[in-house]
Every structure is written in structure tokens, then in C-alpha cells.
């Protein structure tokens, strides 16, 4: 590769470069003027994300493979870029009122958040196993630090420790898997691996299969699939709420994208082998997440466990992709968009009602009577919850119905039945949120501090509107998912 080619290629990853540059800028600024108002830093970060998004727009509709076939700019990655950038922006918005309430400001916060964002963007772009791994690590390390951000709270530190240990283990397993796949196929590019497996006829090479199993385990850790989910609830509960939102949503984009790239493309010829494993993983993930969510009193923990369930649903689509790549991928991408929006929105509402100290709003009881104090907040939360449950007219319904359809289409009827049973069970804990909000008298402590939360309220409203719009006119998002599929394959 010539130097000139390298410069040209760089143009295609401008969004990543911009976000990195902004991160460094914020870092320097914070270093030089430590007393600077954090709102300024947040504003600069937001602006940077916006510019990155603007530079993503002209890439739409094009397809490039650059950096010696390790980075692809296509519908799939652009779709993920938009999602990642907007979710990161939303998390920055919800961080402002939150840290005002807990009275703890540090400029590094935004730096870490932006670096994590670059990591996710890289995974979205990566079509080489090494790029994917690099991106995942670039995401993970800031995420460990961010989890420990509330230095005075033991739970925060404990969660970070757990996250770090588990995450490193997962990375190690993943690298081992990657090295085995590389060892057998001699390729790192996912398309090359796919071709090699088909042509060389190594479909039942034991070392390759072990590699695939290790990859499943490694990615399983990262997305929090059962039985690799143990770190998740503690991290969700311990981390500061905006970071919980980040780990629950944006940080899930990366491993999910990696799973799609690796399993739907690279090792797809081995689908006969990994499908049953993935199906069992999916069924376990759905069911266990659900049962544990039933007993929670802490809403953040509930969202953590229910998030596990949602990952289980999404895995159902991956299983279906083993047979019908079209239906499988489209359903996963669509569902994931919905999941991101409703989940990050729900965390936004938690922050909206949280008070000094930052722990208020974590429990079901804190939501008592919210409908009487702030009807709009209750309505928005209901929309998110109904979407997660899968009740129309919300996006969650359209996402779920298509996942079940994918499972039926590929003759995995038992998996669809497990999915439906879990959807029914999940009604209990989602409805409890509504019971608390609408059917109880408000407790005297419930006060909404509207000051400084105007932007947050507006964003929440937009999120709720999108959630409903996805249920009423799903075609737009479906087309998006379909387009990203066409370039993925």
C-alpha cells in the first residue's frame, strides 16, 4: 500500500478521526483549564459528534473497502455509525443533569465516552477480525473506567472490578478463537474466511470448530448472553446511570455488529454446527434473563436482566440467519434499533426523575404516582416499556413479530415458542412499572427538578415519538435494515 493510498483511505474513516480529535481536544482543554464548566465540555463533545455525523452523510449509498480489506464503509457500517453517534450524543445529554444532581464533575468523563464511541465505530467498520477485536477493546477499556466513575460509591468500584476481570477474560477467549480461525484459514478478512471455508472444505475441521465455539463464548461475554452474563446486573446497578445506559445500549452495538459480521459472513458456512449452539444459547438467555428480572426491586437491575432477555431475542434472529440470512439479519438489525431507542429512553426517564445523590429513581417504589406529578414523563416511560414488551403500536412489536417470523420461516418453531412464552412472562415486570406510575399515590419525596433538564425532556419526547413512529410506519426502518443487509453479505 502506497503512502498516497493510505491518505486516500483515511478520508473514509473521517467520522472516526473527528471523534478521536474531539476527544483529544476535550482532554487537552480539561487539562489546561481544570475549572472549566463541564457544560462547555459536553457542548464541545456534542458538537464533535454532530460534525462526525455530518461527515457520515455523504458516505451514504456508497461502498468502499479500504485499508487492505480491513475496513468497509457500507450501508451496514453507516447505519451503525448513525446509531452509535446518536446514542452517544443522547448519553452525553443525560449525563449533564445527572452529574449536576450527584455533584461530581470530571472532564475525563467525556473523553472516555468519546473514545468508547470510536471503538464502537471501528467495530461497525471492521471486516477484519483484528479490526473488530481492536474496536471491542477500545470500547471496553474506557467502559471499565467509566463504570468506576463514582469513586465514593463502593458499588461502583466493585462493579468496575467485576466488569474488568470478566471483560479481560472474554477478550482473551475471543483472541484465542480468532487465532484458531486464522490458523486454519490463514485469513483475517471475513469474506476471505468465508470463501476459504467453502473452497477448502474444512467444514468439520475440529480446530476451526473449537475456534468458533471460543468466538461464541467471547462474544457471548460481551453481549451478556447466558451463561456468560454474570457481570451484567452488578455493572448496571453499580455504574452511574448514564453509563449504565451506555453499557446497556451503545456498548451492545459493537459486539452485536461483530456477531453479525463474523457469524453471518465469516463462519456462515459452518452454520450447521453453530446454529444449535446459538439456539440453545438464545433460549437460555431469554428465559434466565426473564426469570431473574421478575424478582428485582431495582429498576436498573430489572432493565439489566430484561436487557439479557432482549439479547436472547436478537440471538434468535442470528440463529435464523444460519438458514435464511435475509430474514435473520433484517430482523436482528430492526429489533436492535428499537431496543436501543426504548432502552436508552427508559434510562433517560430514570435520570429525569433522579434526585441528589443519584440513587433516587433506581427502585420501583420511586416511580410511585409519577403520572400525577409528571404525566408526560409517565406517558413517555409507558411507551418505552410497552415497546420493550412488544405491544403495538410501538416499534418493539414490529421488531418482535419479525424475529418470530424469522424463527418460524427457518423452522425453528420451538425457539419461537420459547420466545413467545418469554414475552408473556416479561409482561409482569414491565407492567409493574406502569402499576407504580399510574395506580399509586405519589410519595411526597417525588419531585421533578425541571431545571437544566429541558434538553433531556425534549430528547425523551423525540425518542418516544420515534418508538411510536416505528410501530406505525415501520417500512422506513425496515428498508434501512434491508439495505444494510445487502451490503453485509
Amino acid at each position: 500500500m502506497t503512502a498516497q493510498q493510505l491518505w486516500l483511505d483515511t478520508l473514509y474513516i473521517l467520522p472516526e478521526i473527528i471523534v478521536t480529535a474531539v476527544a483529544l481536544l476535550v482532554f487537552t482543554w480539561d487539562f489546561l483549564r481544570p475549572k472549566e464548566q463541564p457544560v462547555m465540555l459536553a457542548a464541545v463533545s456534542l458538537l464533535g459528534l454532530l460534525i462526525a455525523m455530518m461527515f457520515t452523510v455523504p458516505q451514504w449509498g456508497q461502498e468502499f473497502i479500504v485499508f487492505s480489506k480491513s475496513i468497509a464503509v457500507d450501508y451496514f457500517s453507516i447505519c451503525l455509525k448513525f446509531l452509535t453517534l446518536s446514542v452517544t450524543a443522547f448519553v452525553i445529554v443525560i449525563s449533564i443533569p445527572y452529574f449536576k444532581k450527584v455533584d461530581m464533575w470530571r472532564g475525563e468523563y467525556f473523553v472516555l465516552l468519546l473514545f468508547a464511541c470510536v471503538g464502537i465505530l471501528l467495530v461497525g467498520d471492521g471486516i477484519s477480525l483484528v479490526t473488530i477485536y481492536l474496536g471491542l477493546e477500545l470500547l471496553a477499556i474506557p467502559a471499565y473506567v467509566l463504570t468506576a466513575f463514582m469513586v465514593h460509591d463502593e458499588r461502583s468500584s466493585e462493579a468496575a472490578m467485576k466488569y474488568f476481570l470478566m471483560g479481560s477474560l472474554a477478550s482473551a477467549i475471543m483472541v484465542y478463537g480468532i487465532s484458531l480461525v486464522y490458523g486454519i484459514t490463514g485469513q483475517l478478512n471475513i469474506y476471505a474466511i468465508q470463501d476459504y471455508i467453502v473452497k477448502a472444505g474444512v467444514k468439520s475441521d475440529p480446530a476451526l470448530l473449537v475456534g468458533v465455539i471460543l468466538l461464541i463464548a467471547g462474544f457471548g461475554f460481551k453481549i451478556g448472553a447466558v451463561p456468560f452474563h454474570m457481570w451484567l446486573p452488578d455493572v448496571y446497578e453499580g455504574a452511574p446511570t448514564p453509563i449504565t445506559a451506555y453499557i446497556a445500549t451503545a456498548a451492545k452495538i459493537a459486539p452485536m455488529a461483530a456477531v453479525l459480521r463474523v457469524f453471518v459472513v465469516a463462519v456462515h458456512p459452518l452454520s450447521g454446527h453453530w446454529m444449535p449452539v446459538m439456539a440453545i444459547l438464545s433460549a437460555l438467555t431469554m428465559s434466565l434473563g426473564n426469570f431473574l428480572a421478575l424478582k428485582q426491586e431495582n429498576i436498573k437491575r430489572m432493565l439489566a436482566y430484561s436487557g439479557i432477555t432482549h439479547i436472547g431475542y436478537a440471538l434468535m434472529g442470528i440463529v435464523a440467519a444460519g438458514v435464511s440470512r435475509e430474514m435473520g439479519v433484517v430482523s436482528v438489525v430492526f429489533y436492535f434499533i428499537v431496543y436501543l431507542i426504548s432502552n436508552v429512553g427508559a434510562f433517560g426517564v430514570i435520570i429525569y426523575i433522579c434526585k441528589e445523590g443519584g440513587r433516587w429513581g433506581d427502585n420501583y417504589n420511586d416511580f410511585k404516582g409519577l403520572a400525577k406529578v409528571s404525566p408526560l414523563a409517565a406517558m413517555v416511560m409507558s411507551i418505552f416499556v410497552m415497546s420493550m414488551l412488544g405491544v403495538p403500536p410501538t416499534g418493539g412489536f414490529m421488531g418482535k413479530i419479525w424475529l418470530f417470523a424469522a424463527a418460524i420461516k427457518t423452522n425453528m418453531i420451538w425457539l419461537a415458542v420459547v420466545g413467545v412464552i418469554n414475552a408473556i412472562i416479561s409482561a409482569y415486570y414491565y407492567l409493574r412499572v406502569m402499576v407504580m406510575m399510574y395506580m399509586h399515590e405519589p410519595s411526597p419525596e417525588l419531585m421533578i427538578e425541571k431545571e437544566g433538564a429541558g434538553l433531556l425532556a425534549f430528547m425523551l419526547f423525540v425518542m418516544a415519538a420515534i418508538t411510536v413512529y416505528m410501530g406505525i410506519n415501520p417500512g422506513v426502518f425496515y428498508d434501512l435494515a434491508y439495505k444494510s443487509l445487502t451490503t453485509l453479505l
Binding site: P392, I401, F404, A423, I424, M434, V435, G475, Y482
Partner: protein, 515 residues
């Protein structure tokens, strides 16, 4: 093949969309009104519901009799990528259900005028959203769209019972919601199986291979018995929970007992009909073989419901619970009529759906009226009401006779048709039906005797006031309906019969040869 008449030919403007979405749009506007201005909120909701009712009457004007085609059909691309369209239409089966829904929409707003004073804004919004959901369910001709409407009315109803209900409201409303989705989530699997089957069939028979949720297209293809067998049960459970059929009826008495009057009226008047409507619209024509194969199970469950509900109703102390159980029994006749799978039975079922909506709705309204005055529903608290509130008692007698199915009242017409249909199929089930009717008359008369006749034993009843103008206005339209259907049912049957005939033909001879 079932044809359709576009809204352009019928009336010239998209009437059904207006009828369906007017309440939802009204609800959006209601959100802008200050929640302290309760009277304004009530008036606005009443205006929206009233206009909706008046507009829906145009359906009667433009409706063509003597045809089984879908009318006022609107079809636009909606979720094109997966073959779902925005497809609405009415035929003789759904026409009166739509009118009944819009009528009830007006009556319930009136009924809670004084009754509910807290969170009026939320209540009105819930009622209007619920109305859009119900209307959409009755007119949707696209499986996905139908399901969207079907589920979309769950949250408003859930809130109505849970917020404005009585003591055990949270338990009851959770039970209602969970029972309903236990039925309806698996329906998704059945719907998807039907959807994929169309595509496979189209490939096999060289029709344009496409994926579609369009009901009229799905009617045209056969579903192999292997698929029908399990799809039937997914749909059956989904619809049966709503009806509710024995043994999944247990949510209903709880929901009724704890629901506010408006909740009970909508529940009994409209929501329960959606289950039986679903049987007629989806199960019968899409899965005829499975219906013939497993219809007898539905008949047995209906028979049990009829007998069991009468038996339990006898032992109720609470008037509302008594009516709730009687409602289960009455819905048992309707499912019986549907699953005997002949012209008389289904016609009777359809008209009985209308009748049950009117008379049970009226009974719940009247119980609500007396509850508003005395705050108790125990039968023993009353007695001799006729002396104190004669107008109330008079209306009660009319509604009660209609519910019993006395000749000259609307219930008689439906029950007679159902009996004719049932006796054609089986003597045993016919006898069960007759026993049920007898039982029903007995417990209603006994209720009447204990509550209304004799001397006033409870001094608290001396202060009761008779119906006021608003309450009379609520009941008059229902009483008109009762006598109209009872004395001159021909206009109703003329509308219903062609559609039912076509349905029976479609079932008998396979989808392609029906007209």
C-alpha cells in the same frame, strides 16, 4: 372469491378511516386541554364521540345489502416490504359491531359524567384511544393491521381498570392483561404460519409469488391440514380468552368487579365481541377443516360455559359479579352458534353479539347508576326498589327481559336462531342451550325479585333518587335497539345474512368456489 367495493364507489370519501381515527385524533387534542377543566374535557370527549357516532351512521346509509362483498374498502400500501397494507372494510358481519362501538363510545362518556372526578383527562384520553383500537379491530382486513389494533387497545383498558377501579383493581387489571396476552402473543405464531403458507402455496400453484397479510387474498388459498391443526389452536386460544370461554374465563369476573362502570360497559359491550368476531372472521374461513375437526371441542366448552355460568351466577351476592357470570353464559351461546357451523347458528351468533352488547352493556350501566347512589352492589342491601325508584325499575325490567331472551325483545331473535342452528347439529347441545336459557331467566328473575320487589327493608334505600335526565338519555337508545331488533329484526338480518351465507359457502366447498 370475495370481492370488494372500494370506498370510492360506496360513498366517495374514506369514511372508515375517519370513523376509526377520529377518536384518536380527538385524544391528541384532549392532551392539550388543561387537566383542571374537567367539564370542558368531558364535553370535548362527548363531542368527539358524538361526531364519530353520527359519521358512522353514514355507513348504514351507504351500505349495500344483498351482497357479501367487503364495502367501503380502503387499501393503501403500508408496510410494503413485508406485504402488509392498510386495508379496511366492512361487511354484514362487522357493520353493526362498528355502529355499536361508536354508540357505546357516546354512552360511556355520559355514564361517567358524575361518577369519576379524578384524573378525568386521562380517562377521556384512554376511552377515546380504546375506541380507535376497537373500531380498527372490527374493520381491519389485513392480518398484521388487525393484530396491531387488537393489541393496541390493551394498554388503555389496562389503565381504565387499574386507575379508576375499586379495591382489588391492580390484581384484577394485571390478571386481565396477562390472560389476554397469554392468548394473543401465541397468535403471532399462527398469523405468521398463515402468512408463509400463502407464499408456499403461491409458488406451488403458479400464482404471483408474494408475501401478503391481505385477508381477502389469504381466503383464497388452502392451508394444509397439518398446519391448520396447530394454527387453529393458537388463534382459538387468543380469541377464546377474549370471549371468554370456559376454562379461561376466570379473569372476567375479577375484571368486572373491580372495573369502574365505564370499564365494565366497554368490556361487556364491545371487547368480548372481538373474540367471537375473530372466530367468524379468521378461524372459520381461513381454517375450515380444523374448525370441522375441532369444532365439537368448542361446542363442549360452550355448553360447559352455559351451564356453569348459570350455576355460579345463582350464588352471587354481588350484582355486578352476577351479571359478569351471566355474560360468560351468554357468550357461550354465541360461540355455540358459531361452531355449529351452519347458516342459522352463525347468523344468530352475529346478531346475538349485537344484542349481548346492548343488553349486558345496559345492565352494567344500570348497576353503575345504582352503585353511584348507594356505593354497594350487594343484592341483600336492596329490596323493594320498585316503590322508591319506579323508572329505574321499569328500565331494568326491559333490559332484563331482553337479556333473558323473552319474545318481543332482541335476545329472543338471536337465541332462537342459535337454537335452530344447534338442533340441526345435535339434540344434546340444543337441550343444553334451552336449559341455559331457563337458568338465565331464573337467576335474573330471582335477582329482580330480591332487589326490586317487596317492601323496602333497608332504610338507606328510602333516600334513593330516581333516574335523572342524563341517565334516561343513556338508556333510551339502548331500549330502542332492544325493541327494534326484537320486533322487526328483518333489516338487521338482511344485512347479516348475505355475508354469513357466503362464509358458510366458503367453508363448505373450499375457498376457490365460493362466490
Amino acid at each position: 372469491m370475495l370481492g370488494s367495493i372500494s370506498y370510492k364507489e360506496s360513498i366517495g370519501f374514506p369514511l372508515l378511516s375517519i370513523v376509526v381515527f377520529l377518536p384518536a385524533i380527538g385524544a391528541l387534542f384532549l392532551m392539550l386541554i388543561n387537566s383542571k377543566r374537567q367539564t370542558l374535557l368531558r364535553c370535548a370527549a362527548l363531542a368527539v364521540a358524538g361526531v364519530d357516532f353520527v359519521i358512522s351512521l353514514f355507513l348504514l346509509v351507504g351500505f349495500r345489502q344483498n351482497t357479501a362483498k367487503m364495502q367501503f374498502v380502503e387499501k393503501f400500501a403500508w408496510f410494503k416490504a413485508i406485504g402488509s397494507s392498510y386495508h379496511l372494510g366492512v361487511d354484514g358481519i362487522s357493520l353493526f359491531l362498528v355502529i355499536l362501538t361508536t354508540l357505546m363510545g357516546v354512552l360511556v362518556v355520559l355514564a361517567c359524567w358524575r361518577d369519576i372526578t379524578s384524573q378525568v383527562k386521562e380517562l377521556m384520553i384512554c376511552l377515546l384511544l380504546l375506541q380507535t383500537g376497537m373500531l380498527g379491530t372490527f374493520v381491519a382486513l389485513d392480518l398484521l393491521l388487525f393484530y396491531v389494533f387488537w393489541e393496541a387497545m390493551l394498554p388503555p383498558m389496562y389503565l381504565i381498570i387499574g386507575i379508576w377501579g375499586s379495591s382489588r383493581r391492580i390484581y384484577s387489571t394485571l390478571k386481565f392483561f396477562i390472560f389476554t396476552i397469554v392468548g394473543s402473543f401465541p397468535m403471532v405464531l399462527g398469523i405468521m404460519a398463515i402468512y408463509f403458507n400463502y407464499h408456499n402455496y403461491a409458488i406451488a400453484y403458479n400464482i404471483h409469488p408474494e408475501y401478503t397479510f391481505d385477508l381477502l387474498k389469504l381466503y383464497q388459498v388452502n392451508i394444509p391440514m397439518g398446519i391448520q391443526a396447530w394454527v387453529f389452536w393458537t388463534l382459538f386460544v387468543g380469541f377464546a380468552v377474549k370471549v371468554p370461554m370456559f376454562p379461561i374465563h376466570t379473569w372476567l369476573p375479577d375484571a368486572h368487579t373491580d372495573a369502574p362502570t365505564v370499564g365494565s360497559v366497554i368490556l361487556a359491550g364491545i371487547l368480548l365481541k372481538m373474540g367471537t368476531y375473530g372466530f367468524i372472521r379468521f378461524s372459520l374461513p381461513l381454517l375450515p377443516d380444523a374448525c370441522r375437526e375441532y369444532g365439537h371441542i368448542a361446542l363442549i366448552l360452550s355448553a360447559i360455559a352455559i351451564i356453569y355460568a348459570s350455576w355460579v351466577a345463582f350464588n352471587q351476592e354481588d350484582m355486578k359479579k352476577l351479571i359478569a357470570y351471566s355474560s360468560i353464559g351468554h357468550m357461550g351461546y354465541i360461540t355455540m352458534g358459531i361452531f355449529v357451523l351452519n347458516q342459522q347458528g352463525i347468523s344468530g351468533g352475529v346478531i346475538q353479539m349485537l344484542n349481548h352488547g346492548v343488553s349486558t352493556g345496559a345492565l352494567f350501566l344500570m348497576i353503575g347508576m345504582i352503585y353511584e347512589r348507594r356505593h354497594t352492589r350487594l343484592i341483600t342491601e336492596y329490596g323493594g326498589l320498585f316503590k322508591q325508584i319506579p323508572w329505574y325499575t321499569t328500565f331494568f325490567v326491559i333490559v332484563m327481559l331482553s337479556s333473558m331472551g323473552a319474545p318481543g325483545f332482541n335476545g329472543f331473535v338471536g337465541e332462537l336462531l342459535i337454537l335452530m342452528g344447534t338442533f340441526k347439529v345435535s339434540m344434546t347441545f340444543g337441550i343444553v342451550c334451552i336449559l341455559g336459557i331457563l337458568g338465565c331467566s331464573a337467576y335474573l328473575l330471582w335477582l329482580f325479585q330480591r332487589a326490586m320487589l317487596g317492601e323496602i327493608t333497608n332504610p338507606a334505600n328510602h333516600k334513593l333518587k330516581d333516574l335523572n335526565f342524563r341517565e334516561v338519555m343513556i338508556l333510551v337508545p339502548l331500549v330502542i335497539m332492544i325493541f327494534w331488533v326484537g320486533l322487526y329484526p328483518k333489516p338487521f338480518l338482511d344485512v347479516i345474512d348475505p355475508s354469513v351465507e357466503n362464509l358458510v359457502a366458503m367453508m363448505r366447498s373450499g375457498p376457490s368456489s365460493a362466490k
